[in-house]
């Protein structure tokens, strides 16, 4: 999964940023970079809440979820002999 951030700004000036696809440690740095970049543009932010996503979600985002079932091959490719039709 690509590294991404989705920021929602509601009608009351509340901002919620969701970071996805970042490995351990890098996500907090990215959030701080965003806060600094916003500060340079005149937005002084105060963190109201910060929470990590559940481990299963993070593993899935990073493509580390080994428990996920492998995608089966299409039937045509599994046919014995490799012949068509």
């Amino acid at each position: 999964m690509a590294r991404s951030v989705e920021v929602r700004v509601d009608g009351r000036g509340r901002v919620r940023a969701e970071f996805s696809g970042f490995p351990e440690g890098e996500c907090g740095e990215e959030a701080e970079s965003l806060e600094r970049a916003l500060g340079a543009l005149g937005v002084r932010v105060r963190v109201r809440a910060r929470r990590l996503k559940p481990p299963g979600v993070i593993r899935a985002e990073l493509g580390l979820d080994s428990e996920a079932p492998a995608r089966p091959e299409p039937a045509a490719l599994r046919r014995p002999g490799g012949g068509r039709g």
Binding site: V7, L38, L41, G42
Partner: protein
């Protein structure tokens, strides 16, 4: 790790607080853009003054004049602190209109700032506006992909 952070925000133009001219502040340019976008949305115009209930003219750094609030909503930047304040006289039942306009200017400004900040961090940015499920408030969603 991936995380979700919630912020409250206030507008403080740091360059102005350091003594630089208002026009040189990148935040001011975004703020101006936000007021102009709001004026377009309300089919209003941008000015540099407001009037109070008694018709007295008050100067401000930028103002939003609309049919819904013809006295005008002013934006004033404190040159000593960089803090941004809204200047208006809502006497006579204009409270709700003014509150909605202030919220919209603030939301437009924050959305523009987030999009700018993410572009500066090399994200590919996409902005979408979503109508609220309840009420007339909108949510602006800024997505960035590295």
């Amino acid at each position: 790790m991936s995380q979700i952070t919630s912020y409250s925000a206030e507008i403080v133009l740091e360059h102005v607080a350091e003594g630089r001219p208002l026009e040189d502040d990148p935040g001011w340019r975004l703020l101006r853009e936000a007021v102009e976008a709001t004026a377009q949305e309300y089919r209003g115009r941008v000015g540099a003054t407001i009037v109070d209930y008694f018709g007295r003219v008050r100067p401000c750094d930028i103002s939003l004049i609309t049919a819904a609030f013809p006295r005008g909503l002013g934006v004033v930047v404190d040159r000593a602190t960089g803090r941004v304040a809204f200047l208006y006289d809502d006497y006579g039942g204009y409270g709700d209109v003014v509150r909605r306009q202030i919220n919209r200017v603030t939301q437009n400004f924050l959305s523009l700032a987030v999009a700018h900040a993410l572009r500066a961090m090399n994200y590919q940015v996409d902005v979408e506006e979503k109508a609220a499920e309840v009420g007339d408030e909108k949510t602006v969603v800024v997505r960035g992909v590295l």
